[in-house]
Amino acid sequence: MESFIIFISISLTIIIIIPFYRVIKGPTVFDRLLGAGAIGTKTVVLILILGLLFKRLEMFVDIALAYAILSFISSLIVAKYFSTEKAKE
């Protein structure tokens, strides 16, 4: 069971690295926001699984909940900021 959790956390770090390509290459600013948002929500799960790995889930669950709320609020605020500008071209 222990080694399986380690395997899952390693595969999750690989899954988190994949959207970085979209953040770097994304033609529009919203693709970059999308990639960053995707990384944010995936990190919540990585925190939970690391909590399971370190046998102290009660602390990591609080951290994951706070991080999920923060990433949600930040994606809302950034979306609101960008919705006021008009396309320049």
Binding site: M1, I5, L12, T28, G35, G37, K80, E85
Partner: protein, 107 residues
């Protein structure tokens, strides 16, 4: 009983990781912003919910499971709303949805 618990945990964690992988590949391969927001808002949410259910199975009925259920409900509500806000902002910004018959790939 603990074998069944471990089996359930492993099954849910694998399924969740599989759907999150699909979400990540979707973010990369899909042609346009709006199709990409499909990938993040839907398959990511499903992946997270499966993994949280797997953790709840592993923990049993303790306080941690209650907090995990709170995270489950919050992610189920927050992720689609965040993606909708982003898609609405992109549409107001002036990004045209991608159509199959267009020759040039604008995204």
């Amino acid at each position: 009983m603990s074998e069944v618990k471990d089996l359930l945990t492993i099954l849910f964690l694998l399924l969740g990781a599989f759907f999150m992988l699909i979400g990540s590949i979707g973010v990369i391969r899909l042609p346009d912003f709006f199709t990409r927001s499909h990938a993040t808002s839907k398959s990511d949410t499903l992946g997270i919910m499966l993994i949280v259910v797997g953790l709840i199975c592993h923990e049993g009925l303790v306080l941690n499971s209650l907090k995990l259920m709170i995270i489950f409900v919050f992610i189920a509500l927050a992720n689609p709303v965040g993606s909708h806000a982003l898609a609405r902002a992109a549409f107001k910004f002036g990004i045209k949805p991608w159509f199959k018959k267009e020759e040039k790939d604008q995204a």
